[in-house]
Symmetry: C2
Subunit: 80 residues, 2 copies
């Protein structure tokens, strides 16, 4: 899962990453804490937040749940 | 991209696949026609619609655009 995507920093991924970062910060969670909640590497969370990973649906749902939100809400926040 | 996911038929993926299929059928597009619009294999579209592929963000955005909708709207329809 932590494989960097060749599509790094696509505007879509940057927008989603920003929405995830904002949701995480609202909950006062560190990347490390979010990573532990979802059972992923901190570096993977960092990649997603920077728009460097075309994250797949299942990890995205896990991240949304850990952030007490939904994928639909994250997408709406990201304007996607 | 057409690699089947080990997470096949997860309820999240089934829900998203159903929302994509419904949007495609509203536009009276075949899987083949949608596949051509987004430059993917028909079999990959079929996998996604059946919930057999944990589709990543960039192909998902391409599919949503081809269906004249947004990822947020698809997620909302899927209850995600």
């Amino acid at each position: 899962m932590p494989t960097p995507s060749k599509h790094s920093r696509h505007p879509v991924l940057t927008a989603l990453g920003t929405a995830i970062r904002q949701s995480r910060r609202k909950l006062k969670l560190s990347q490390e804490e979010l990573a532990q909640l979802v059972g992923m590497d901190r570096s993977y969370i960092g990649q997603i937040e920077r728009g460097e990973n075309s994250v797949a649906m299942l990890p995205l749902v896990a991240i949304a749940e850990a952030l007490n939100t939904t994928v639909a809400a994250l997408m709406t926040e990201a304007g996607l």
